[in-house]
């Protein structure tokens, strides 16, 4: 398909159907996006948003249905065809080479800059300068990608897509890794860009949808359940449409029933994989029956802190203790046995063994305990009974408890992990991004369980980047920035703006800064 430079005034899909084994990912979807419109495409995980967009990008062929641009039918045999037609997509996970400069990254996909054995970098830089001028997207072409913040990398992705000649933008969950301030900037930017092109904005953050989009389409289980203008819709109304039922995320009433200090971390220094100190004197304590949140943009030391608490990363200096027992630099086994529960960040690779059955994953930590073993042998009956019981208690939805855990949905995998950890009756629980990427139904379930656990007197340390999650659940919120805890706020002090500023490393109030040096 030859590249055209015609403006895309209308993109229309008709009756798009795509089947995958066992499911219909898209079920005869009709959508129209007009000139200069921003359409928000909303839906839970697995609702079919990404499949639909991959069809628009030529990555998948629809089983049925057609795509029209400006009223003419088009067929995309691959991403190159979609590019040629002017459709550009910014993926949720950035497609950049970290050890190349911005200009080099853009030149990679820009065919006209490849002149036999030479690369026309000056030409690429000129193109970048034009685009960045036109859309007010500041970027340094000679900076290496690894030096850039997540927000800056996203700008590079946008410029890259525009340099390739995109006249129609698709953004897949663009705000998932941004700070609140960066999100606001992105929304303002997209609004400016909409004067020039149409945009499809995929998200499940409903506040952003109402702030940005003109029209909204809601997908549920592969079908469109709502199409209309955004004006007049509320976030709660959209949530109900998205999940099919009223969703009320539970809130922590913050009633004081706190016990003694349970999980105590003092002056912790931990190195990152690259050898510098990722934690630079971190200290906090969580009381029994309290939820302490840790807010921060990811990459500020959360991973290293979580690893150190689980015994998987060496503590250089400082102390970790649980109920007065010193756990500094103990083995993971000793830490587990001391009563620390853990919901890891990467639920598929760290939380479960994906190829193991659900039954097996539920006893992953306790296979050698007297409850599940006699001598060298596993008690198969107890293993099965345990699984059946936990399946009921935690509403784990699966065809069989013998089936592979890795094949479950993200929410169900998280339920398996939660079931295993809670069944061990921990004294304290570390939850690292426990609802990341989960739909609202699963989020509601996990939040409810965490609050129940709090009421039972367990100390919970919740690492998250979702301010709503933190403000709903936590008694206190600590903010981490570049390996230091900038401040610990009570629930009353913690507002969106104060947390946002702290997450960006800005400490409010001169006195406070002076006191802490």
């Amino acid at each position: 398909m030859a590249p055209t430079h015609e403006k895309i005034r209308e993109l229309r899909v008709e009756g798009i159907t795509k089947r995958f084994p066992g499911i219909v990912a898209c079920n005869s979807i009709d959508l129209t996006i007009g000139e200069n419109e921003i359409l928000a495409l909303v839906g839970e995980n697995g609702a079919g948003k990404t499949t639909l967009m991959n069809i628009l990008m030529g990555l998948y062929q629809p089983d049925e249905g057609k795509i029209f641009i400006n009223g003419r039918p088009v067929q995309f045999k691959g991403p190159a065809d979609a590019f040629a037609a002017g459709i550009g997509m910014v993926h949720q996970h950035f497609m950049l080479v970290p050890n190349m400069t911005v200009a080099e990254n853009i030149a990679l996909g820009l065919k006209e800059s490849h002149r036999y054995f030479r690369l026309d970098l000056p030409g690429v830089k000129k193109r970048i300068a034009e685009i960045s001028e036109r859309y007010k997207l500041p970027v340094q072409p000679d900076a290496y990608v690894w030096q850039l913040s997540v927000g800056e990398q996203q700008r590079v992705e946008l410029i890259k897509t525009l340099c390739f000649g995109a006249r129609f933008l698709i953004l897949d969950e663009p705000t998932s890794a941004l700070t609140p301030q960066e999100t606001d900037e992105l929304i303002a930017l997209l609004k400016r860009m909409a004067s020039d092109m149409s945009i499809i904005f995929i998200s499940h953050k409903l506040a952003e949808v109402t702030a940005l989009s003109d029209k909204v389409a809601i997908l549920r289980q592969g079908s469109i359940v709502f199409k209309g203008t955004t004006a007049g819709q509320t976030a709660a109304g959209l949530a109900a449409l998205m999940t099919g039922h009223e969703v009320v995320l539970p809130r922590n009433a913050c009633i004081d029933g706190y016990g003694n200090d349970c999980l105590v971390v003092q002056d912790l220094y931990v190195k990152s994989d690259r050898g510098f100190f990722a934690l630079d004197g971190v200290g906090f304590s969580v009381r029994s029956g309290e939820i302490l949140g840790l807010a921060g943009v990811s990459g500020n030391g959360q991973k290293e802190l979580a690893d150190a608490l689980a015994g998987l990363r060496r503590v250089e200096k400082g102390r970790i203790s649980l109920m007065g027992v010193d756990l500094t630099n103990r083995s993971p086994r000793e830490i587990i046995d001391a009563g620390l529960g853990y919901i890891p960040e990467d639920r598929i690779n760290e939380g479960i063994v994906p190829s193991f059955s659900i039954k097996e994953n539920l006893i992953l930590k306790d296979v050698a305990s007297p409850k599940f073993s006699r001598g060298a042998f596993i008690k198969s009956r107890e293993e099965a009974q345990n699984a059946a019981l936990l399946q009921q208690q935690f509403d784990i939805r699966c065809s069989s408890l013998n089936s592979m855990t890795g094949a479950l949905s993200g929410g169900n995998i998280q339920k398996v992990i939660l079931a295993r950890e809670l069944a061990r009756e921990p004294k304290a629980l570390i939850a690292v991004y426990p609802t990341r990427g989960l739909d609202m139904g699963a989020e509601e379930f996990i939040h409810t369980r965490l609050l129940e656990l709090r009421a039972k007197g367990v100390a919970i340390f919740l690492i998250s980047e979702e301010l709503d999650e933190l403000m709903n659940l936590c008694d206190r919120i600590a903010v981490i920035f570049k390996g230091k805890i900038l401040d610990i706020l009570t629930r009353r002090e913690a507002t969106r703006p104060t947390l946002g500023l702290l997450m960006a490393g800005i400490r409010q109030g001169a006195e406070k800064a002076a006191v802490e040096g």
Binding site: R333, Y342, N349, P354, F356, L364
Partner: protein
């Protein structure tokens, strides 16, 4: 997806894979100028025609089963042991040394002792690679392959020097081989006049024990967890490093045992070339058997047929017995390709729609299916 569909799909893919393996072999045979049909007929039927052939197949299957069991354990634990060949040779050396050193010990004690020392020799050799991987992160594929070369040299040196049969020195022929083992160290033959020995029973019993170990014991559970997802295992408090080392020791023990059985039951003295590639064929058998004892036994029998069959083609049709290596390679390629297709749910979905529910399909679909069919053919 219905189970019947899945079964149909898997069997179709398996059949195509088997045909592909046969096809690759056929290409080589055509280049050699051989009669393809005749050759395959000899390879696959000749060994099973008489008692001699069948017992020979089983004799070959014994070391293959033993080695493959060890490979299955190590691969399941996440360590790719390519060093069975060297471990076999170390097992032979240890078993021979112990048998020759204690000729007067009664058989009931000496045979188990010799077998155990063979296992210990293999285990010790394997533990070098296991230790390097667990403590220093040295890639086990490199280290085991390199240790194979070292083992060959040590084996050759011992048979030419310290362990050579003094008779060879007296007669001056100098064949690199040890003294004949004392009768008290022999594993007996089951059927007189054939070479079939009691090692086959040992191999089958050990296969059952390995199954119980991997799927019924806590250490097997931990070992499989560490192999399937080292990260998750670490989070669950499993010591992945010691699990790697343990698995490697077990794998080496099985390979060493295979060597000890070969020397005490078949050759009765250490000679050069005794392992005859069982260390590598064992890997193929383990993969072909799905890294599961229940699959390894039939896979070993099948490869036993191939080994004996290609020997026979050499005699009957004068086609080099090295043909077996070609067939092994073809089988590995086919298994790997078939696994990719079997684990690709999307390919399975397409198969289902195309062949089983072809009627209700819209016409526009045909062209695309044609294209994907071509793509699949390329794979």
């Amino acid at each position: 997806m219905k189970t019947s569909t899945r079964v149909a799909y898997v069997s179709l893919v398996s059949c195509v894979a088997a045909l592909a393996a046969v096809g690759i072999g056929a290409i080589v045979l055509v280049i050699l100028g051989a009669d393809v049909v005749q050759t395959y007929k000899v390879i696959l039927t000749e060994p099973l025609k008489d008692l001699f052939g069948i017992t020979e197949v089983l004799v070959r299957a014994v070391p293959l089963i033993l080695v493959a069991l060890g490979i299955a354990i190590s691969f399941r634990a996440g360590i790719l042991n390519i060093g069975a060949e060297g471990q076999i040779q170390m097992g032979i050396v240890s078993a021979t040394a112990v048998a020759l050193a204690l000729p007067n010990v009664p058989k009931a004690i000496l045979v188990p002792l010799v077998l155990l020392s063979g296992a210990a020799g293999g285990a010790l050799w394997a533990s070098i690679a296991g230790y390097l991987r667990a403590k220093l992160g040295v890639n086990e594929i490199l280290s085991t392959v390199m240790l194979n070369y070292i083992a060959v040299q040590i084996y050759g040196y011992l048979l030419r020097g310290p362990m050579i049969d003094p008779a060879e020195l007296q007669t001056g022929s100098g064949t690199p081989q040890s003294m004949r083992l004392p009768r008290s160290a022999w594993i007996d033959r089951i059927i007189p006049g054939t070479r079939l020995h009691w090692g086959i029973v040992l191999a089958v019993v050990l296969a059952i024990l390995v199954y119980i170990f991997l799927w019924r014991t806590t250490s097997g559970f931990k070992l499989r967890a560490a192999g399937a997802s080292a990260k998750a295992a670490r989070y669950a408090g499993i010591n992945v490093e010691s699990s790697l080392l343990f698995a490697m020791v077990l794998a080496g023990a099985f390979a060493g045992l295979a060597g000890a059985v070969e020397v005490t039951a078949v050759h009765r003295r250490a000679i050069e070339g005794i392992s005859s590639g069982y260390g590598f064929s064992g890997i193929v058998v383990a993969l072909f058997g799905g890294l599961h004892p229940g699959g390894i036994i039939p896979a070993a029998a099948f490869f036993g047929v191939l080994l004996v069959g290609t020997d026979m083609t050499q005699r009957i049709l004068s086609i080099p017995a090295n043909m077996v290596s070609v067939l092994q390679g073809a089988v590995i390629l086919s298994i790997i390709s078939a696994k990719m297709l079997i684990n690709d749910p999307y390919a399975m979905e397409k198969f289902e729609r195309r062949f089983l529910h072809f009627k209700g399909q819209p016409v526009g679909q045909r062209a695309e299916d044609e294209e994907s069919r071509k793509n699949e053919a390329k794979r």
